[in-house]
């Protein structure tokens, strides 16, 4: 079947989709957006979290056909999404070709330098909340959404909002630090 929907502000079309495919599969394997991660495919880890019409959901549990005509924001579009929220600018999105091909190339000491990041993305880097990074995209989408409606969360609020996102590397302490940092920077308007 064919599915048409919007990802990170851009209209996308996926063809020859098998009816049992998840939104996660379509994003990763058909649209060249592998940022949403495939850790459990049973809604238990949150690594595939995306915004579906604004709400954080596990994209592994959304059937591809269910997103027809709907809007999805993935980690690849998070910086633009946050930017739009801050100043109402236009969406950029990640092009299909950019994301599709992987190449082994040297990563210098600040790979990706100059890339525009959302406050929560920057905070995750600064606070040391990233280790293997496999849980990171889902956590970022979930944490960003929480800060959108709860800009001054208590620790218990943060823990509750992120309780659907498993991390195996960090013990969550640096993730807590990162979300606190993003909230603090947000409130200071940094």
């Amino acid at each position: 079947m064919r599915v048409n929907f919007t990802v990170n502000g851009r209209p996308q079309e996926a063809d020859d989709v098998w009816e049992g495919e998840s939104l996660l599969y379509v994003l990763r394997e058909r649209l060249g957006l592998p940022g949403s991660k495939n850790a459990c495919e049973q809604g238990e880890c949150g690594s595939c979290t995306v915004r579906l019409d604004g709400l954080p959901v596990c994209s592994c549990l959304v059937a591809a056909g269910q997103v027809e005509g709907r809007e999805v924001v993935t980690v690849e579009g998070l910086a633009d999404h946050a930017g739009q929220r801050a100043c109402g600018s236009d969406a950029g999105g990640t092009s299909l070709d950019e994301a599709k091909q992987w190449q082994a190339e040297g990563a210098d000491s600040q790979a990706g330098e100059g890339v525009e990041l959302s406050p929560i993305q920057q905070a995750f880097i600064d606070a040391g909340a990233v280790q293997c990074g496999f849980c990171t995209p889902g956590l970022l989408v979930a944490a960003d959404e929480m800060l959108e409606h709860n800009p001054d969360p208590s620790d218990a609020d943060i823990r509750e909002a992120l309780s659907g996102n498993l991390c195996r590397c960090t013990g969550y302490e640096k993730i807590m630090d990162a979300v606190r940092l993003a909230a603090a920077r947000q409130s200071e308007g940094v």
């Binding site: 592998p34 459990c40 000491s109 880097i125 293997c132």
Partner: protein
């Protein structure tokens, strides 16, 4: 204060971003934008999907395999079984090559690979695999020591020829290591109290989030390029190439992004299968396990039965330890022999005990294969000996921390293996520090709006508003070896290049080190900055075009590959200075007389005088070299007495756990899990804290929730999913304050100590001790479940 001082750095100390700073990850931006390419993200034009058919029973003869219908499925490009393997080499294994690439005549555990399929869509491949008909004739299952060593026990592996078969008491025992020192019988006579205990440690899964996956691309030269997540590229290569019938240089491996490892990627998973299918079909083949398959696709932490006897004098001095540790290795050897070595040699913990009698064995059974996981044999032992230490203290009426301090090892103590501990061992100090940390406030769940269930046992499930909740506090300390032991030639390799790019001196570091999330790439860049005085460092992707880095295991990579990078950088620096002397030596006498350093892109004297710019010294020539680097050699343990200088370095951590237990429902909330650890030298303090907190949390998991449950009648796994194999969420994980001690080990680069594993050891027994403190229960098994706390 114990012996030892922090390392002092001279070279590069004024260069920004060097060692000792909390520099940020070089892959951080890629990881937060979703651009970082993990092994499951690989994509290639025209690629196929591989699928593995796994056994549905644990132990059976394979009567027949019919692949006809699967092959006839439209979209299927290949179906392969044992009969299709291209060479005489059909097995692989880390130490013992006992693991069939595809089952041959027999399956030995639930989920063993039997056949593989390549098709144009994962669903096509799954459907085709489901159409392969395998007829099994089931055999009795061996599931524990009794069934493994019974007189008529069937052999898991007939006709063993490996190097352990000569010294094991039964062919269903992979390896046995006794360690005997002093005279336990005599020492027992001096003991005023003797405490015995029997402990059970459950099977833990690494539960890394990035599933086993990778992409094999057939090459025009008949070889194959493999992009994969692993812990040790060259070890994989050594096992893969012979099965494919290819010379190693035709199997080119590149490390793709690794979504965590924790030991679970030491063994091969989909590597050979993807290569076989790619070579057979002539097309790129991608394999990605789902979570269900991942539980069968890698080895787990050995479950263990541990029998301990401790003796002590009335004054609180340990007289002796006698113990027997039985590890269930499952159907294939994997890392079992080395796990036995660790469990036995570290079996009494970080204590002074002159009279010891230890025996550790690993069994062959039909349970899931077990091998490496963070802490590697030392974890199981620590759970048991720390429980024993609390029991002895209680028996003596002593404070458990004071009792430990009284018996704590220090620099110079002899291990049960007779090996002296030749660097700082601040065991008593770590305990002192962790005990001195402020206690978390009581009843944090109380608020003006009523109880906050998120901070109570049961959490969001709303099971208590304070009823039945009792606080408990527990302590534990552990000892872990660093690096590969027992005479293994443990080394790493680094290639370092220095050149001018765009008017700036740039260092390039190329190693085969598997970055699995630990931050090795961050540290390599820091080392290069410190040693070469440059700002800009490029870390090349890890691949097999450079020499082996050894495994990202055993807390060894900062020591070993960090050491190799340091060593290569030092040699590059000498060459650069020689170049400078040749070019500019005649202009300034200090080139010949002063100690020269590279700082901030310049050659300077130790007094700080600038002699030249690196840009001018290098000109348009690059300096590059590749070198291997080794830690001090170790020796094997004597097979009869266990004596020998088997380990190169030890790592110590202590924990204090504060828990609140709902004693009526048996639910536990860990309130705080404080850790003190000696790290020798914190090359990157932020990463050090992250390692300690992450390791601590994995220890918490095995304490209260994590266990792979195997049916003892069928040897089948009952909970291969994240629905029923639970790992801690952020609501289960407490604050983890960390106190880092830096006492240099003068034998190690920068005085550092491998740190990744030690926190996983003491975390579990500390939590168990705290639960015992809250409930008064004995609790001899981990994980502790609500049933155990409620007696139901």
């Amino acid at each position: 204060m114990p012996n030892g001082v922090p390392t002092k750095i001279t070279q590069g100390s004024r260069t920004k971003g060097g060692i000792g700073e909390s520099t940020l990850r070089p892959d951080g931006i890629l990881k937060v934008t979703g651009e970082f390419a993990y092994s499951s993200d690989m994509w290639h034009e025209d690629m196929l999907w591989g699928q593995i058919l796994r056994s549905t029973v644990a132990h059976a003869e394979i009567v027949s395999i019919d692949t006809g219908e699967a092959l006839a499925t439209p979209g299927v490009y290949a179906v392969m079984t044992y009969d299709d393997l291209p060479t005489e080499v059909k097995n692989y294994g880390l130490e013992i090559q006992d693991t069939p690439v595809l089952a041959h005549g027999k399956v030995r555990h639930h989920g063993e690979p039997v056949a593989i399929v390549a098709a144009d869509h994962p669903e096509t491949a799954r459907r085709a695999a489901a159409r392969i008909r395998v007829e099994y004739r089931e055999l009795p299952v061996i599931t524990d020591e009794a069934s493994a060593t019974a007189p008529e026990a069937p052999l898991v592996h007939e006709n063993r020829t490996d190097h352990h078969i000569g010294h094991v008491p039964h062919p269903n025992i992979v390896h046995r290591q006794p360690i005997v020192r002093g005279d336990v019988a005599e020492a027992r006579g001096r003991a005023d109290v003797i405490v015995r205990g029997e402990y059970h440690f459950g099977m833990q899964d690494q539960a890394f989030l990035g599933p086993e996956s990778g992409l094999a691309v057939p090459a025009e030269d008949g070889g194959v390029d493999l992009y994969v997540a692993t812990q040790w590229l060259h070890s994989d290569l050594r096992q893969i190439a012979p099965v494919l019938g290819l010379p190693p240089e035709k199997v080119r491996m590149t490390l793709s992004g690794v979504g965590g490892a924790f030991g679970g990627r030491e063994d091969l998973s989909m590597q050979i299968h993807a290569c076989l299918l790619a070579l057979r079909t002539g097309k790129p083949v991608k394999i990605v396990y789902n979570r269900f398959e991942s539980f069968f696709g890698h080895v787990h932490r050995h479950p263990a039965k541990l029998y301990y006897e401790h003796g002590a004098t009335r004054e609180g001095k340990l007289t002796h330890v006698k113990c027997r540790i039985v590890l269930d290795g499952g159907a294939y050897a994997s890392a079992s022999p080395a796990v036995v070595g660790n469990a036995s040699s570290l079996g009494v913990g970080p204590y002074v005990v002159d009279d010891v009698d230890i025996e550790a064995v690993a069994l062959y059974t039909n349970n899931p294969p077990c091998g490496a996981m963070r802490g590697f044999g030392a974890v199981q032992a620590c759970f048991a000996y720390e429980a024993q230490m609390d029991k002895v203290a209680k028996e003596l009426g002593m404070d458990p921390v004071e009792f430990r301090q009284l018996n704590a090892m220090e620099q110079g103590t002899l291990m049960p293996t007779g090996q002296p501990v030749d660097s700082p061992a601040p065991v008593a100090e770590l305990l002192r520090r962790v005990k001195a940390m402020p206690m978390p406030p009581e009843r944090q769940w109380e608020s003006s709006e009523g109880p906050d269930v998120r901070q109570l046992p049961g959490g969001l499930s709303n099971t208590t508003h304070g009823e039945g909740v009792v606080r408990g506090v527990g302590y534990a300390v552990g000892i872990k070896n660093v690096g590969f032991s027992e005479g293994f030639d443990d080394y790493s390799t680094a290639k370092v290049r220095m050149e001018v790019i765009a008017g700036e001196p740039v260092a390039t570091v190329h190693t085969a080190m598997a970055e699995v999330g630990q931050g090795g790439v961050t540290v390599h860049a820091q080392i290069a900055r410190t040693e070469l005085g440059v700002g800009r460092v490029t870390i090349q992707p890890a691949d097999t075009q450079v020499g082996s880095a050894g495994s990202t295991s055993a807390s060894r990579q900062t020591y070993l590959t960090g050491g190799a990078v340091k060593h290569a950088c030092e040699l590059v620096r000498e060459e650069v200075l020689d170049k400078g002397r040749r070019k500019f030596g005649s202009y300034h006498p200090a080139w010949a007389t002063a100690e020269l350093l590279l700082e901030r892109g310049k050659v300077v004297t130790d007094a700080g005088e600038v002699l030249a710019d690196l840009v001018d010294v290098l000109g348009d020539e690059a300096v590059e070299l590749e070198r291997e680097w080794r830690h001090r050699p170790t020796e094997p343990f004597d097979l009869r007495t266990g004596q020998g200088n088997g380990h190169v370095q030890y790592s110590f951590a202590a924990h204090r756990a504060v828990v609140e237990v709902d004693t009526e429902l048996g639910l536990v909330k860990v309130v705080e899990l404080a850790c003190a650890q000696d790290v020798g030298k914190a090359l990157n303090p932020l990463s050090v804290a992250g390692q300690i907190q992450g390791g601590t949390t994995q220890g918490l998991g095995i304490a209260v929730m994590e266990e792979i449950v195997v049916d003892p009648r069928t040897a089948k796994v009952k909970n291969p999913s994240f629905t029923d194999y639970l790992i801690p969420t952020i609501l289960d994980t407490p604050t983890i304050p960390v106190d880092v001690l830096e006492l240099a080990d003068i034998n190690a680069p920068y005085g550092l100590r491998g740190i990744g594993e030690a926190p996983t050891l003491s975390s579990t027994p500390a939590v168990l001790a705290a639960i015992r403190d809250a409930t008064g229960l004995e609790l001899n098994r981990t994980p502790v479940r609500p049933e155990h706390l409620t007696g139901t």
